[in-house]
Symmetry: C2
Subunit: 333 residues, 2 copies
């Protein structure tokens, strides 16, 4: 292993402790459980809260999107493991400002199970909740079953837009509708060049010989749709972007936001080489790029690889992306 860690069992708790020590003006752990992290001013009276959650190992996902104009709180699981229902519920209580709470997280079985249980607990305490699942990985299901897809990096767009809607005072139903609208218009495809190494076991999340690539890989190493020899950056981008354009039925004159996301150890230089080609391909199709994000937005620890997400834009979605936001990992405006 090439990890800078202490006791592997303390990996998650020590990481959270570091985040809170580094950014006390932005986030806090309001209960005895260090796995519940919320924005420093939570709960915000009269505003809809947004709770996310999921396994660790994906920074800045999910903890990094807790802040103003973004998610209000997060329940944090072990590496690639769901938080408990109780943790999801405690996070709900901690951000509840009386206007209800949106659950916005990636579509994985354990997370769904525990957030659904938390919703029942919240209901018993009189806290209204709604749920929207991030499900943007086009490699995992066809368009007809889009809401069964796995959630990957594109959930960033939903945090940004739903967070902006909550901040401006939208109702719970309205914030949920914004989040669902974003999810329905977001598509992502990734490529992996090397696996994640689990801190506790030292094992790799999957096997992939050096010099090969897996197209459509999930952020936990779920199998993709093509494995073969590593190709050029331009060829890889074409493999990723074409299915996204088709999936979102984008045509000449359409507008998009683009996220080129690094999965961990792929250098920023390579992400910009990829963006160059994304811009070329979309320009050729006369699709207008109105927002660009390049960097690490959802990782798999040290996995080498990247993903490309497209969000089809209209004026409403664009305005929500442009709204101010601030978290330890993201700032807009």
């Amino acid at each position: 292993m090439r990890k800078i860690i202490n006791d592997p069992e303390a990996f998650v708790d020590e990481m959270i402790e570091g985040i809170v020590l580094a950014h006390p003006e932005l986030v806090k752990t309001p209960t005895d459980d260090p796995r519940i992290l919320v924005r420093a001013d939570a709960p915000v009276a009269g505003k809809v809260g947004i709770v996310t959650g999921g396994g660790s190992g994906h920074l800045p996902l999910f903890k990094g999107y807790v802040g103003t104009g973004l998610a209000s709180g997060v329940a944090i699981g072990n590496v690639f493991s769901s938080p408990s229902a109780k943790q999801c519920f405690e996070a709900t209580k901690a951000v509840n400002g009386g206007a209800g709470v949106l659950y916005l997280y990636g579509n994985y079985g354990g997370d769904v199970l525990n957030f659904d249980l938390a919703a029942d607990m919240a209901d018993l305490e009189g806290i209204s909740t709604e749920t929207v699942l991030g499900c943007d990985d086009v490699a995992s299901q066809p368009r007809e079953r889009a809401r069964d897809r796995r959630g990957v990096a594109g959930i960033f767009f939903a945090f940004k837009a739903a967070g902006a809607a909550a901040e401006r005072g939208d109702s719970l139903a309205e914030v949920a509708a914004v989040a669902q609208d974003i999810v329905d218009h977001t598509a992502t495809m990734g490529i992996g060049l090397s696996p994640t190494i689990f801190p506790v076991t030292g094992q790799a999340s999957f096997e992939l010989p050096e010099g090969e690539m897996e197209v459509g890989i999930g952020i936990h190493g779920e199998p993709g749709i093509h494995r073969g020899e590593l190709e050029s950056a331009d060829a890889i981008v074409d493999r990723l972007v074409d299915p996204l354009v088709t999936d979102l039925s984008l045509t000449e004159g359409d507008r998009v936001a683009v996220l080129v996301n690094g999965l961990g150890s792929t250098p920023l230089e390579e992400l910009y080489i990829m963006y160059r080609r994304v811009n070329q391909v979309l320009s050729e199709r006369k699709i207008s790029v109105e927002k660009v994000y390049v960097g690490e937005y959802a990782t798999s620890l040290e996995m080498a690889g990247a993903s490309i997400s497209l969000l089809a834009l209209n004026d409403d979605r664009k305005a929500l992306l442009d709204a101010p936001a601030q978290s330890p990992f993201f700032q807009e405006g």
Copy 2:
């Protein structure tokens, strides 16, 4: 190799093209030479310009610090190679707003040679220049020869402070004095766990068996001061922070800014585990942490490892760090 690239010889130019396509509102390439990148509104009349430069492969260093309240322009070399004197000069002309230009870059022989030649060319054209070298790597020279040290991640503090000074209208001499003051109060030490792989040759920058670490390593793989078995995060942080505290003669009641910087493929989770210990160690010494930066600020492509930088703070330095800034990779305020 596990790189997402096209022709390796086009690595740098395609990366710059991607940056400009992604952030046209922030940066531009004002000449026929794509290796000269300046802020979108350069030159700014009446304000001091700041030109940096150096080899590629260190994103967000150096290109990432071109923006408002930061550097005004950059001359970009090949991977780990200096830009030419002509490129440094062209960048100088492109940012010259009539108040002179500060050269602020890391202390490496090729860069010094070419920037000094550029200063001569600028002088012939009536453009005043001053030079301040980033030289914060305590492993490379003892304190008595601090200005002979290699420049590493701590130059970020100098960009931030000198950029703020230029933005508020300081004279060239004043901006240079701010940069030198920051450099003189900054100390950095790094640790490497794996090498950089050069895009063109596919060769590693140095050899390091898995499970070993090199303390004090430079950002091009220059040898450090200790090689041995990989230790715990806490033990590593202690090895890095103690020499920094000594070097800066920090004692009880002193104030610092901290930068925990990832060198490439070390996950953000591990950087926060490191920050947790940095905070502990400084708290025990009753040194007050007033600014914290955790993330990738100066990398070596996909090198695994991290560095810790400390800047001794006073009110002036703190105010300059707090001033607004915006670039493709950094935003404050």
